[in-house]
């Protein structure tokens, strides 16, 4: 039930036990967790068309950022962040852990930026190109040595950018 919340009143409802009364207490059995992980691992969703949507959105966000460098940085960065976040979220769920691994690093990199410049956009373009290669060549799993090489190159580019900013 909603309460009138004037500035001086705090309502504290004791923890609702209804769910505990229905389900009891304890954990979900390990065997059920193992079986459900199998459902995740063996799903046959075709990730390619999903990924293409996010890659296209990232491409548009990049193009928009290049054309509107004077726009508020948080707005530009937010638009760049979102498709990267979606690639990170979905890649590993649908057979492309390499997409998620690389996107995790790229997302962290973008989230810690406060301004947008050409060098930053070049790195995100490099990221976009690498993701396009992974999707077009259907590089599933970790991608082996090619996957490692892509990750290294992007991480080095991010490190160089951060060092340059600090210099």
């Amino acid at each position: 039930m909603q309460r009138n919340t004037d500035s001086n009143t705090v309502y504290i409802s004791k923890a609702d036990q209804a769910l505990r009364n229905k389900a009891g207490t304890g954990e979900i059995p390990v065997e059920k967790i193992r079986l459900s992980q199998k459902q995740i691992d063996q799903n046959n969703v075709d990730f390619q068309p999903i990924a293409e949507i996010y890659l296209e959105r990232l491409s548009q966000a990049l193009q928009n950022a290049r054309q509107n460098m004077d726009a508020p940085a948080d707005r530009l960065l937010g638009a760049l962040e979102k498709p990267v976040m979606n690639l990170k979220s979905n890649g590993a769920l649908f057979g492309y852990p390499l997409i998620s691994d690389i996107a995790t690093n790229m997302l962290r990199f973008i989230e810690t930026r406060s301004k947008v410049d050409e060098d930053l956009l070049d790195i995100i373009q490099l990221y976009l190109d690498s993701q396009n290669i992974i999707i077009n060549q259907k590089i599933k799993g970790t991608g082996g040595s090619v996957g490692l090489q892509i990750q290294d190159e992007l991480q080095n580019a991010c490190r160089r950018y951060i060092s340059k900013l600090k210099a």
Binding site: Q2, Y11, L19, Q37
Partner: protein
Amino acid sequence: MALNLERVSILIVDDNMPTMELIKAVLQVFGVKNITTATSAEEGFETFQKKIPDIIIIDWDMAPVNGIELTKKIRNDKASVYPQVPIIMLTGYNSKKHVELARDNGITEFLTKPFTAEDVAKRISSVVNRPRDFIQCNKFVGPDRRRRRASNYNGPDRRNGADKQVIYLDVNG
């Protein structure tokens, strides 16, 4: 002891069908029999009002209304049938600022994508095993954010200050 989720009802609100189907499949294996789904925040709120689920799993990144806005509506709308419902926020964001934003808007648990079955199990177990007090004041409506009590805390007591009236309620009858 094992949880028995057969009588627990869960609503999943996500506009990404493949992810929604995956979560549904995981919950079914966990033994949840009563699962309803919605593909937008608007439909999610309508379904919530009709079904009154025990737990809601909401994806953050939905359009035009996102998961945070839906959470606010469930927690604050005068017509909301169950503002205290445990809400698990599903998202690919995991920076501190995103976690804090979700927490300050009243979510109960945060589930980061990509998730494993174990991640989902932990969040479900947490909302069942460790229900939290529910706070309603002018600045915040949601489960108690103070999960840890610092023994050496000596800052202002905003909840029990002299100018505050604190009313304790017991929803368990």
